[in-house]
Symmetry: C2
Subunit: 212 residues, 2 copies
């Protein structure tokens, strides 16, 4: 019996998965957790074979949770559930130890196949046959080649810029010199190889370094 845990805050999705596997007697959903906290608590008690993990959780983001789970439970297979809009973060999840990547608009057959594959120690990726996905990859993958590593302060300032604040406002907000903000901003412009804050923010969004 393959035990499956769903980590997703949308009961509809969980319902859909139940539908898909109800005719598969060797598969069983043992738990449905709505957020990362519940999920980690549950995993301390019981260790399933497969975890279906949503990218967007209400508390911490799926990427972090993926990393934590991979660290604590190296044997468990993690299949990431996502919408096509977020397909570009595949590589980041794979780096964090995800075993599979399923779009939420999959068929039952593909779903069962995904589970078989990861249990067989293969990495499963949703069919990227459809042109949307390919286009998405083509446009984002180049930019993805090297995701710049940002420091804590840089991330903080990036987020504030994204909130619509300008240099002086951020300086006041963080009790720092405007010069300092400028320095951080400049460093980020370099790291991202762009030449304007707007382009910086766009690229950061494309790379999923920003939520909004």
């Amino acid at each position: 019996m393959i035990r499956i845990v769903i980590i997703d805050d949308h009961p509809l999705v969980a319902g859909g998965i139940e539908m898909m596997i109800k005719s598969e007697s060797h598969l069983s959903i043992v738990a449905h957790l709505q957020n990362a906290k519940e999920a980690l608590q549950f995993l301390e008690e019981s260790c399933p074979e497969i975890i279906l993990l949503d990218v967007n959780l209400p508390d911490i983001d799926g990427l972090q949770l993926c990393e934590i789970i991979r660290g604590n439970y190296p044997e468990t297979k993690i299949i990431v559930l996502t919408s096509i809009e977020e397909a570009s973060i595949i590589t980041q999840f794979l780096q964090k130890g995800a075993n599979g990547f399923l779009l939420k608009n999959i068929s039952k057959e593909e779903f069962i196949q995904a589970i078989d594959s990861v249990l067989d120690n293969k990495t499963f990726l949703s069919k990227i046959a459809n042109e949307n996905m390919i286009r998405h990859f083509a446009s984002v993958n180049n930019a993805l080649k090297s995701v710049p590593v940002l420091t804590r302060r840089e991330k903080e300032i990036l987020a504030l810029l994204n909130e619509g604040m300008n240099g002086p406002q951020i300086a006041e907000h963080l009790f720092l010199s405007t010069y300092t903000i400028e320095t951080h901003r400049k460093n980020m412009l370099q790291k991202f190889s762009v030449s304007s804050t707007q382009a910086l923010l766009k690229k950061a969004r494309d790379l999923k370094l920003l939520l909004t």
Copy 2:
């Protein structure tokens, strides 16, 4: 018998809804359409009592489809399905004639209740009891009071700004004077009551006037 049509490109969601209503003998899902084109074709043939409409469709956006359906089928009840992240566009959908608004993380009870309500000519909104939703509303609703009306040119320039282009680049791209771009930008800054392009873009995103 209440006929329900689902317009959503995620079979998982459809599966979840099927789960929810399988014990309700008076409800029946007569079709599951994956995009707007299919949906409109189907509706020409058969007219259901209730349409469950996803906000994000692969072809045209849910808001437009909502308007079209409302125009062609004034009697059909439209319930919009959404994630919490997009909850801020409720008012826009209501303006386009939606009858209900359901978050995808609803319970079965709430779901049934929503259907009963809209059939009873009431507008149903998902419980906004949870604090996330309230916070979301508090922050966005003020800004939402008046969604600025943008002209075609303004939208075009807004989109290019969002792509990370700056004034001179846009001017070159559109074969216009930089002065002209500045004028349009300025007008938008006024319409949105902001004082920087970054704030403008943030606000536009908050108001769902931009996709990215």
